[in-house]
Amino acid sequence: MILTRVALGIGLLFVVSLVIFWATELLPGDLASQLLGQSATPETLAALREQLGLNDPAPVRYWNWLSGALTGDFGVSLATNRPIADLIGARLGNTVFLALYAAALSVPIALTLGILSALWRNSIFDRAANAGALGAISLPEFFVAYILVLWLAQTGLFPSMVRINPTTTMGERLYMTFLPALTLTLVVTAHMMRMTRAAIINLMASPYIEMARLKGLSPLRIVLRHALPNALAPIINVVALNLAYLITGVVVVEVVFVYPGLGQLMVDAVSNRDIAVVQAVALIFATAYVGLNLIADVLSTLSNPRLMHRR
């Protein structure tokens, strides 16, 4: 069961890599003529084609690209001629750090708020939390980011730009990346809270919860023992979905705060039409996305006795 799901995930990743690779084939002309543009002569074109390996048939190029990517070799940036692996190196760590930071802040807050507003349904608290969340998901990320800059950076409490170098200590890092992390947290928390609330309300309406009430159990016991084990699967999915959403969020937030991460790199590469870098970063983001969904599926299978204990 779990093995099939993992195999499916790997298969999906394979297809995703195909889609990302195939995207370059849609280019009018080929990569070499794109790169050289007006200055192309037949000789320089041929030389560049040779250098980029464009004379090989597509399946061969795909195989070279994929096997390179698997070993951490993404080829060479078309704009700067530097190895992409070098460009990605530290940036990948920075982006992962930011995403984890935001996740560590948002997951506990969102789950607590979501569960509380589901338990106190239709109360003032619930209405306020809902209106707030609806508002928050309607705001563009850069709007949230700049509002925070306006409020918090103006007062000098937090820096509005992030300057990280290898000597930065963990404490400084957490301090400097607080605003970007907070921005992501606000955006993701709203989504996660709404979905958690919906999942719990859905669950609390089930007959076995009524049965637990009619057995005279305390509300705390009902939530912990009867609702929570069944809520695990939906909550895991909610969390995974939103962590995956962080991936999209980091791109904009990194640009606002001039944060040296993968998102920045990708945006710059898109402006320069540096397709090799875009492909590499897209592949990393997509892998994280597919991986998160895969983990969520496996965990929710493990939490479901119907799937774990067959008849």
């Binding site: 309406a205 089930s206 007959p207 076995y208 009524e210 049965m211 637990a212 009430r213 009619l214 057995k215 005279g216 159990l217 305390s218 016991r221 023992r225 009867h226 084990p229 069944n230 006795p305 119907r306 204990h309 008849r311």
Partner: protein, 538 residues
């Protein structure tokens, strides 16, 4: 039964919310229950019986609120006491058995863990003692493998067994009162009596008082000492069971018998040549076989009932006849010539001759279309009616099903009652002017009085238009009322067939015997007698 009063409800009023408005759904109900007594609470959907039953535990569902009256359990006023004290009573002194055990057991925990939870949290007994006790009660509830069954998860146990396990769970703290909320309604008729008998015995063994909620008078007659009839939140009448069965006072109570007393006159004429002949049909969904070698004949102008429990293949047979499921073997003849197996290869006239009426009128009528189009479409399609002729035809059909054309022709299905929707289903079938109408459980989602109206209408239409019906049902009472011929199905096979008189007169096939004898009768001694007879036969 002692004279000691256990539960006393006076002038109970409960409101329910729809949208932003509250309306009263229980309007001043009184109820008295003595220790060890079983009270049957019966009524149709919307009568408020479950709401009253839950109020006896001091509980109101979300969207309901208790607004008036007193609920006194063993001297404790459940409306005035604290929530903590009510919690102390629930599960310990008042227990609850829900309609759907499959949904009411928590899917994440084993049965025995859920059993032990009540006694352990209420401090009645320790965990080990509770497990021993569970096994003992599982045995008394006649569950198979009482030592092992508790260690399974709910999805690993069948519906009838779950219902018994739930009754055992309710008994765990040896409560003074158990509320049974339609505990057998969702079960097949042969499973129903096993559960019913087990419930009745255990309640007697422990001298527990009970409120037994159901819509089926014959079921409640087997278990209850007294019966109270509710209608739209008000009491109609209350009497000792035997007195109520022998001489109901109110017209409404009498009408609950109606469908059982309705019967069309016996036919004396002999059947003509077969209209539809099903010959050696086998069918499968994917690789799962559902029908095996099914054969029977349907005669013009007659009603053939196809009976069987869920999963017997009744509806699948209908799907084969209509062409929705091409059979893997066998053929269906219509007036002597074979029908193409697949829907797509049938001619428009072949499609016209066989029409369907569905169980759930709610899902069978497109909620966004007006009756004019719902009924008019077949007439337009098959008979080519247009404009005024079409409108006139729709009006005729509405009149035929006893709905005033001017009032109804532009309504949407959502603006009709359940019985009226079913009548529209009939009108739509008639619009095609078919020879055969397949009725798939057409009355089983309806209240008793409405059922009777639909059966009368179908009978009248048959007499006027010479229709043939294939009547799929699990309800033996309906078969008795309207069938001319009967086919009994079990596990995808025909186990018995013939004219009604022959099927209902002994000697029976073994399965027919089981099916017929399992139908509760309006006799308080019926269950006892049946169990004795079955025990005697071994």
């Amino acid at each position: 039964m002692s004279g000691d009063i256990l539960l006393k409800i006076e002038d109970l009023r409960i409101e329910g919310r729809s949208g932003d408005t509250w309306s009263e759904i229980v309007k001043g109900v009184d109820l008295t229950l003595h220790r060890g007594e079983v009270l049957g609470l019966i009524g149709e959907s919307g009568a408020g019986k479950s709401t009253v039953g839950l109020a006896a535990m001091g509980y109101a569902r979300d969207g309901c609120r208790i607004t008036g009256g007193t609920i006194e359990f063993d001297g404790i006023d459940l409306r005035r006491t604290s929530e903590a004290q009510r919690r102390g009573l629930r599960g310990k002194r008042i227990a609850y058995v829900a309609q759907s055990a499959a949904a009411s057991f928590n899917p994440a925990h084993r049965l025995i863990d859920q059993y032990a939870e009540g006694p352990v949290t209420h401090g009645v007994m320790g965990r080990d003692k509770a497990e021993e006790d569970a096994i003992e009660l599982y045995r008394r509830m006649q569950l198979p493998d009482p030592e092992g069954i508790g260690f399974r998860y709910p999805h690993q146990v069948s519906g009838g067994q779950l219902q018994r396990a739930m009754t055992a769970m309710a008994m765990a703290c040896r409560p003074d009162l158990i509320i049974f909320d339609e505990p057998t309604t969702a079960l097949d008729v042969t499973t129903q009596i096993e559960v019913l008998a087990a419930i009745r015995d255990i309640v007697r063994q422990f001298d527990t008082a009970a409120i037994y909620i159901t819509h089926d008078l014959a079921v409640v007659a087997q278990a209850a000492d007294r019966i109270k009839v509710l209608l739209r939140g008000e009491e109609v009448e209350e009497a000792e069971t035997r007195a109520m069965l022998a001489a109901p006072r109110e017209d409404y109570t009498k009408s609950l018998w109606a469908v059982r007393s309705f019967a069309r006159p016996e036919r004396t004429d002999s059947p003509g040549a077969a209209l539809v002949s099903v010959q050696g049909v086998s069918a499968a969904y994917g690789k799962v076989p559902v029908l095996e070698d099914v054969s029977f004949d349907l005669h013009p102008g007659r009603t053939m009932a196809v009976v069987g429990e869920s999963g017997s293949g009744k509806s699948t047979t209908a799907r084969v006849i209509t062409g929705l499921l091409p059979p893997s073997a066998g053929t269906v003849l219509f007036e002597g010539s074979p029908l193409p197996p697949a829907l797509k290869s049938r001619t428009r006239d072949q499609l016209r001759q066989v029409q369907m009426i569905y169980q759930m009128a709610d899902t069978a009528l497109n909620p966004k279309l007006r009756l004019r189009e719902l009924i008019g479409r077949p007439a337009q399609m098959y008979l080519g009616l247009r404009g005024r002729a079409l409108e006139a035809r729709v009006r005729d059909l509405l009149a035929l099903i006893e709905l005033e054309p001017d009032t109804y022709i532009d309504r949407l299905p959502g603006e009709l009652s359940g019985g009226q929707k079913q009548r529209i289903g009939i009108a739509r079938a008639l619009a095609a002017e078919p020879k055969l109408i397949i009725c798939d459980e057409v009355t089983s989602a309806l209240d008793q009085i409405v059922q009777e109206g639909i059966l009368k209408l179908l009978t009248r239409l048959q007499d006027e238009l010479g229709l043939s019906y294939m009547f799929i049902t699990h309800d033996i009472a309906t078969v008795r009322a309207i069938a001319d011929d009967v086919v009994v199905m079990q596990k995808g096979r025909v186990v018995d067939k013939g004219p009604k008189a022959q099927i209902f007169a002994p000697p029976h096939e073994p399965y027919t015997e089981l099916l017929l004898s399992s139908v509760p009768e309006m006799d308080p001694d019926w269950l006892t007698g049946l169990l004795e007879r079955r025990a005697a036969q071994g």
